[in-house]
Symmetry: C2
Subunit: 307 residues, 2 copies
């Protein structure tokens, strides 16, 4: 049997959150439908942040409600929630999978959510108690695991501290985030080794890389070598910062899946439909998305004819 990996698709959430053009709800639904059709089984479909902070998610309730019942088909459609208010909104809209986040870096956590790590942990504890009876899947992101744009290095002990708290809250999956693309392959291996020892089989471990410095797939490969089988990625490689033109975002779903398929790992994805989803999203946003496979064919389709 072929070995498998799973992709946690974050395009509709992490990908879109930095886009200043607000998409119509129907367009978001169409995008998510294409991603499902391509074979993605885990999709973060929206975020219940305050729409005053991130206007893109003005329609979180509507997007979530549209996909009510889809989980019965064996897919996980997650909503990101930042706090108790967001959690309440998500649950009221029927969320069955919820992701929470906080930074391993004190400086970044304060910049991002205006709270100390301790206060974030307390608040997420309240969130977890308020939702855990009502959902099937609970995921925790550890933001700035591999480096912080404000404080630089992030001590591994700070990462393990958040891990422990997430395990106590009962998360099924922890995702290690390289929020601003500072990770390198050797560091990835070391961090994963420490975190796996801490988790000790009590949750699944995923990785979440951004391609800011071109290292996204090298880091993903290093993570794979360390035994990781769940990878966050964004269709087309959407993401990045609207104020830094040319900055790339998450690693691209299609490029990541393509790498794995090339050496015999089963992703279960249809690359023609992924391309369709990439084209659709690019058209909506009036730009060419960064994914390499949006510009060229997969190796198995690529043939020049001799003229």
């Amino acid at each position: 049997m072929r070995k498998k990996i799973e992709i946690w698709e974050v395009g509709p959430r992490d990908g879109l959150q930095n886009e200043l053009d607000l998409l119509e709800t129907s367009a978001k639904i169409e995008l998510i439908a294409k991603l499902l059709k391509a074979g993605l089984k885990n999709i973060e479909i929206t975020s219940f942040v305050n729409p005053k902070m991130v206007p893109q998610f003005y329609d979180a309730e509507d997007v979530l409600k549209h996909f009510k019942g889809f989980e019965d088909q064996g897919v996980v459609l997650s909503s990101l929630v930042p706090n108790v208010t967001g959690a309440k909104r998500a649950i009221e809209s029927g969320a069955r999978a919820v992701s929470v986040f906080m930074s391993a870096s004190e400086a970044h956590n304060r910049a991002n959510v205006n709270m100390s790590i301790e206060d974030s942990l307390t608040q997420l504890g309240v969130v977890s108690r308020s939702i855990q009876e009502q959902i099937d899947f609970f995921r925790g992101y550890i933001v700035t695991t591999f480096g912080c744009p404000y404080q630089g290095e992030v001590p591994i002990e700070s990462v393990l501290n958040v891990c422990r708290a997430y395990l106590e809250m009962g998360v099924q999956e922890i995702s290690l985030g390289d929020t601003t693309g500072m990770a390198n392959p050797e560091q990835v291996k070391k961090v994963i080794e420490s975190v796996q020892r801490e988790i000790d089989g009590k949750a699944r471990l995923a990785v979440h890389f951004h391609d800011t410095r071109g290292l996204g797939l090298a880091n993903a490969y290093a993570a794979y070598e360390s035994g990781i089988t769940v990878f966050d990625a964004s269709i087309g490689g959407l993401g990045g910062c609207p104020f830094a033109p040319g900055a790339t975002g998450n690693i691209a779903t299609e490029d990541l899946a393509h790498m794995f398929e090339l050496f015999g790992i089963d992703t279960g994805l249809d690359f023609d439909i992924l391309r369709e989803a990439n084209d659709y999203l690019g058209t909506l946003l009036h730009k060419k998305l960064p994914a390499a496979l949006g510009k060229t064919d997969p190796v198995w389709k690529f043939r020049k004819s001799l003229s």
Copy 2:
């Protein structure tokens, strides 16, 4: 002592060969001077192909002659030669380092140089006998080592066949080329293992990746894990095909070096001067080069201030 890797800079040759805008000789010289100033010790500075085939190298003699004597400062400045005529021109202009190339794929070799592999081997044998008394460094590229755009898979036996021929010709270094970006990390490891067994210490082994499908640095990392210490790269990631807009070229010198420096490997390079070389080349070619580090800072320089 920190571990080291070496970069074989191919920007002035592989990078420029697809550019339809012909650069002034003085601009090429200035670019090479910047690359030397940045600390690069191995640079492929020109190509003695027929200028009717690749007009960019109309001035191969002039570029080479300008750097006469530089090798005494411990750098290798190589000229690519395709055949006996090119070899003769290079030697007459004072070349002390020469690179030759041929494909491991019969179909690609015919498409590229209009010859069978057997005829290429015969011709390169003549080239090697005509130059080896006059040069200090002789390098052989094996083009399409990891896949061929015409025939698809390239049997490892075809790669080893070219290896053996190169060793008989007395090359000091063999570079495995992923000409159209078809390699993947697991394949890289397998091919390197086979080739190292064949070479058996009789020459140094280098790798030459293109980033066409975003896998360049992942492949380079896999090669590093397999013991490779010489990596071909191009400043800014220049390269690719002028007829395929958006297609990326060689892996970028600065992105590759940055990856290694992040985990403690010494590249000996000055990243500010690399950035300067990238900017200079981009200005000459009127475009933004693909390198990530042309758009963002290295991790060690990257800090946001808390506002």
